[in-house]
């Protein structure tokens, strides 16, 4: 999984039936040591209901389709966990 910050959201009323009721968020990768945004932004499916500004872990590829309890979800990027804090080598820079 990778570390990112939720920086935005989207509205979509018209989507594939298997994505019905799921949020689409905008996330940006964060360097986990320095805490700096890397500039790599992408859309991610959100099964948890996270808010803008929160730090999350996300997964890509086939494994992203497994983040849901449903059988078939065509998602290639999914948020899988909200990261409350991180600890690098004993110190907590968050």
């Amino acid at each position: 999984m990778f570390y990112a910050k939720v920086i935005g959201k989207t509205y979509s009323n018209f989507k594939h039936p298997s994505l019905e009721g799921l949020d689409i968020k905008i996330i940006e990768d964060v360097n986990i040591v320095t805490g700096k945004l890397t500039g790599k932004k992408t859309l991610a499916m959100d099964p948890l209901g996270v808010s803008i500004g929160e730090y999350v872990a996300y997964e890509v590829s086939t494994e992203a389709t497994w983040a849901f309890d449903l059988d078939m979800v065509p998602a290639d990027t999914s948020i899988t966990a909200i990261i409350d804090s991180r600890d690098i080598g004993g110190e907590d820079p968050v």
Binding site: M1, F2, Y3, N31, I32, V33, P47, L48, A57, E59, V60, S61, T62, E63, A64, T65, W66, A67, F68, D69, S78, T80, A81, I82, I83, D84, S85, R86, D87, I88, G89, G90
Partner: protein
């Protein structure tokens, strides 16, 4: 598989159901000579390793599903071995 160094841990209370009870650690990919890269992974630690240790990561979701004995776990990278020594022949 990738050689990586465990550099920290993360705390997460809200996760998707399928990854409950996983221990997430932060791994930084390194090359066999110890040179650090800019690539960081959040990994499941199936072996039980400490901070600062060099490990092997398997980057494939079926691997972790196999280890945890659950189906379709949405985590790709997992620690599968602790590296004691890298023997470079050159």
């Amino acid at each position: 598989m990738e050689i990586a160094k465990i550099i920290g841990t993360v705390v997460s209370t809200i996760k998707v159901n399928k990854i409950e009870n996983t221990r997430l650690k932060i791994a930084q990919a390194i090359n066999p000579y110890g040179k650090e890269s800019d690539l960081f992974y959040l990994v499941e630690d199936a072996v039980g390793v400490g901070i600062g240790e060099t490990v092997l990561l398997a980057d494939d979701g079926e691997t972790i599903s196999m280890i945890l004995g659950r189906e379709n776990v949405p985590i790709r990278a997992s620690v599968v071995a602790k590296v004691d020594k890298i023997n470079m022949y050159e």
